[in-house]
């Protein structure tokens, strides 16, 4: 709805990589036995069930593997509520939990040849071998975050809305001019 604003509308920084807040994104948490919910996901989200720590699609349209009994469905912000409804309908006989969490999150794009290095300053993850199609839930400095490759030099980062400013400042600091380790 028109009143809706993302956590840091228009926030952007340019350095060894660019950091941009991606605006409102639709997100649905779906918990349930993956086998039991696969069909509904296929039907409602138009995506195949991703394997362990994989993501199919991306922002706007995608499904990510979050844990053995949890998926994250990515969609247009406006569609999240109806997707929850549809899932509940499809899964009315299956034990599950579907919740719209679009407003609980913030999303950033880190772009540029040094994007991996910016993340490697903050997360205990081997970014040298981080693959396309993989989603990693981890610790970014002092908060939980998740990210995946959205392109050869583009990483999409998801964090909780309340720490959006902290995460943006972290990424911007890590992307400061002249701070590139030149490692990857």
């Amino acid at each position: 709805m028109s009143n809706a604003v993302s956590a840091l509308p228009g926030a952007a920084h340019a350095g060894i990589a660019s950091v941009t807040e991606m605006g409102l994104q639709g997100m649905v948490t779906l918990r349930g036995d993956h086998a039991e919910i696969a069909a509904a996901v296929k039907k409602v989200a138009k995506q195949d069930l991703p394997g362990q720590r994989r993501i199919n699609g991306g922002l706007g349209k995608g499904v990510a593997w979050m844990s053995p009994d949890e998926l994250l469905i990515l969609c247009a912000y406006e569609d999240a509520a109806s997707i929850v409804e549809k899932l509940d309908k499809e899964l009315k006989d299956a034990h599950h939990l579907a919740a719209n969490v679009s407003d609980a999150r913030a999303v950033f794009a880190v772009e540029g040849p040094a994007a991996r290095e910016v993340i490697a300053k903050l997360c205990p993850v081997d970014m040298a071998v981080f693959e396309d199609g993989e989603i990693r839930r981890t610790r970014m400095a002092q908060v939980p975050a998740a990210f995946w490759m959205a392109g050869p030099d583009t990483i999409h980062v998801v964090c909780f809305r309340s720490v959006a400013r902290y995460v943006f400042d972290l990424l911007a600091t890590s992307a400061a001019e002249g701070s590139g380790p030149g490692f990857f």
């Binding site: 205990p124 839930r137 610790r139």
Partner: protein, 105 residues
């Protein structure tokens, strides 16, 4: 700085992604039980100098709990396994027998 592989999501997670949860395979003691049993359950934790079975949560990760078999002296990790079990899996026990003969004391 420990490195434990989360059996739930497959990540070889460093300690900062994890939250320790103390002794594994405790049997909960509820109302009507003896004071001594309840004390044993809640406080008299195993504190071995050697092989230890413990609980961890992949807190900054998939959020799931798992178990680890670890030596508290060398910090060697014999294996990690599901939290949904009341005892260590055979293969891990055999591995420990192999590496620490007589550890069962």
């Amino acid at each position: 700085m420990l490195l434990l592989t989360c059996p739930n999501c497959g990540v070889a997670a460093e300690e900062t992604e994890l939250a320790p949860g103390g002794e594994a395979h405790l049997k909960r003691v509820g109302p009507g039980s003896e004071d001594a049993d309840f004390e044993g359950y809640l406080f008299l934790r195993k504190n071995p100098k050697g092989v230890h079975f413990e609980r961890w949560r992949h807190a900054n990760g998939c959020g799931k709990w798992f178990h680890a078999a670890r030596c508290t002296v060398t910090l060697e990790v014999f294996g990690t396994y599901s939290a949904q079990t009341t005892e260590p899996p055979k293969d891990i026990l055999l591995k420990i027998d192999d590496k620490r003969p007589g550890w069962r004391g």
